[in-house]
Symmetry: C2
Subunit: 250 residues, 2 copies
Amino acid sequence: MNTLDINLIRFVKHFRIGSFDTDYSGKVKMTSICNYLQEIAGMHAEALNWGINDLMKQDLSWVLSRLKIKVFKYPQWKDNLRIETWPTGIEGLFGNREFKIVNEEGTLLMIASSSWLIINIKSKRPVRPHEIIKNDEFENAEKLFEQSISKIKPIKLGKLRESIKVHYSDIDINQHVNNVKYIKWIIDSCPKDVLYNKEIEEMELNFLHEAKFGDQLIVNAQSKSENEMQFSIQNQKSNIENCRAILNWK
Amino acid sequence: MNTLDINLIRFVKHFRIGSFDTDYSGKVKMTSICNYLQEIAGMHAEALNWGINDLMKQDLSWVLSRLKIKVFKYPQWKDNLRIETWPTGIEGLFGNREFKIVNEEGTLLMIASSSWLIINIKSKRPVRPHEIIKNDEFENAEKLFEQSISKIKPIKLGKLRESIKVHYSDIDINQHVNNVKYIKWIIDSCPKDVLYNKEIEEMELNFLHEAKFGDQLIVNAQSKSENEMQFSIQNQKSNIENCRAILNWK
């Protein structure tokens, strides 16, 4: 690390959990947490001059490719969160970024790790991030998980859970389904007794292919063990896979 | 008006529009605006000692019954909003409340009016709000619309638009579908060419009956004129109507 200002190395934003961010029990929804993470990743990239607006000038954009979250304690409606994020450098084509979520008392609530691709928005192909990111400034940065986020293996025998039509409210400014919507559909496809009696302890996602307005998608799921479920979202017509995920419950 | 502190008479909160609050064009979603309104109504009620937590001690709760929003200008991603709210007293069984949304430059973006019922959460029946609210402090408060929010007439010939299953993510801390979800389903049921070429200028909603986890609902719609559509959401099995709405486009 050299001349970068500490505010640029680590970016911090506070969020107050609104009633609309919480579930039936007043506990924060994972989708709201993921919204916050995407938002501050974008804000920090902007502060570092790698923001979407900067990249767009070269027909490039950031796309979230992998995400892993571990929950120690769920915050509730009205709680104030402090979320910290920092890049951890380049790994292959991925630009990696970590997140730490603490409450007002400083208790560690969640940690998250993410891998992003820089894609050419015309060809949809990833480009080498090395020209955009000065990697040497970040490569010794703290990593929160022991291992990089893995490529999730395909589901062999998927059971049909849900049929999804992509609507207006699912589309973001990149003109495709926002990543957080896959997380919503995956969690919503779980049985009520799991959702009402257990909590997600760990969540790992691979975002594989974009979906568009009007697409018909299918959520498949498979129980791996009592507290582990694996998911796949794919296009009903083309069978192209949009997203794979593993959820661990406690 | 007498001894009430000005901070209690008018309640103000600022919101920064996140990327997750915006649509394909970077414009704020009406659902996010409605989330903000519900949130500050709750915060203000709490400051006035009529909050849900206070009412729950008597087995009572606030339920949003009618909502009307007029849009002058849509804010965008990253804009900071100042939202102001104040009660306008009791009208029949309704406790009424107004909202004003301005941007950082002070430009008026939206106005809204709402009618709430106090219900007994066991019997689900409304109770007279007069014992809870000191009406004389608010009855001369500023009203933003010329007329009270009306009772919307039933749709005669509805066309089936969408079939909805109520999921985990739709349920709020009152253990039923949050009002904003009806707004999401109504807007999502509109044709793409309307959603991509027009903007909602005015929206009026009557919330009639609660829906629960697992319910199957239907969204019906009817065009009243080129720029006016009417909607009804009802339970597929019981035909009980959950919500009626009118949207005006420009």
